[in-house]
Symmetry: C2
């Protein structure tokens, strides 16, 4: 059996590539590994067979020869360790790339996901409108720090790595809010990431499942 990942049967973003399976597809494309996708419905994600693979009822999961992994950071790291293309060969540079992977999911992503809380989960609450600018400013604070570190470099630390893959994927989620484009260096960094052929293939693969045309069928 080869590699099998799970993805939304129908992504809430309608194919914008913001669902987390895109990160794993991208890593697989960078490393040139073929894979199959098993689509899961929202109901199936909460049922015992999927919970056995992913204790929090999320996608994606990663299965290969009896191994089951979850959390995109962990899956991308697993691929990066085993196949060329996502980690530098220098051991110190590799450790620093892992620092950026954790910074993406633990320092940059949480304030961005708070946009979902204030707009959707708590979107009908009386405080939503007043809270939105506070949430946006917390994102801006992190983006300012990240942009200062990036400077005019192409990637965060030397060549493109799994750290950039995770960081660009997380930053993408802030684009619909307009906040990403307030930071031209970060917007250009994300655009460089999106221009990579491996990203394009990953994006096209998820779009083929989630495009409005197919979801209307």
């Amino acid at each position: 059996m080869g590699i099998v990942i799970t993805a939304f049967e129908r992504s809430p973003d309608g194919g914008k590539g913001l669902a987390r399976d895109t990160r794993v597809r991208w890593a697989l494309e960078e490393t040139g590994k073929p894979y199959d996708v098993r689509l899961v419905s929202f109901e199936a994600m909460k049922a015992p067979p999927h919970i056995a693979l992913q204790p929090f009822g999320q996608i994606p999961t990663y299965e290969e020869d009896g191994l089951v992994l979850f959390e995109t950071g962990s899956i991308v790291l697993y691929l990066a360790e085993r196949h060329a293309g996502l980690f530098p060969t220098d051991t110190d540079a590799r450790a620093r790339a892992i620092s950026w992977m954790f910074a993406a999911v633990n320092t940059i992503e949480p304030p961005i996901l708070d946009l979902v809380t204030v707009r959707i989960i708590e979107g009908d609450r009386p405080w939503a409108a007043e809270r939105l600018p506070l949430v946006a400013d917390r994102i801006r604070n992190r983006f300012k720090q990240l942009s200062a570190r990036l400077g005019d470099s192409e990637w965060l630390d030397g060549d493109f790595s799994a750290g950039d893959l995770m960081m660009a994927s997380v930053l993408l989620r802030a684009r619909p809010s307009g906040i990403l484009d307030e930071f031209p260096a970060l917007a250009a960094y994300v655009a460089r990431a999106e221009a990579r052929p491996a990203y394009q293939r990953a994006f096209a693969a998820q779009l083929a499942i989630n495009a409005p045309a197919s979801s209307a069928g």
Copy 2:
């Protein structure tokens, strides 16, 4: 030069061990590596010399022979890969331990940190009291899923690993709210982690800096 980490000159928690340097101290103690600590003030954390080490102005950082790392997950993983005591030898089990490390910081920690947002950062806002139970319920939802997966096992996947170190450290942050103790299996899991001699040494080391007696001096 040996290992040097940074920690708060004075931790906001007054020595409860919730600051993130405790996680790194704990990992160092589990692996038996000696280390030095450089304390940084809140002002110094935002100044260029520290930002050069940690782009987001946080603690801890990790320095060893010219290598600089940040993000506790990354530092703990680095130590776990190089020294016995934090990762299983089986490669699949090691990959699964890394899934738990990412789950700790990306799935379990964000809703817990939202308690700081609602109580402190937005504590004076008119919506704080009404928002608190929503935040608490999001934590309970994750704790229910995590407790279901843990079942009556001692640790999350086989022997104690860096995955447990990160997860127990994150869960600890929910104890002051009372929510951890609503889940007896998780509270017992954290108690087992705290009972480890390496955790006790790490806790004592941070307490020696942050205890009320010394901070009054």
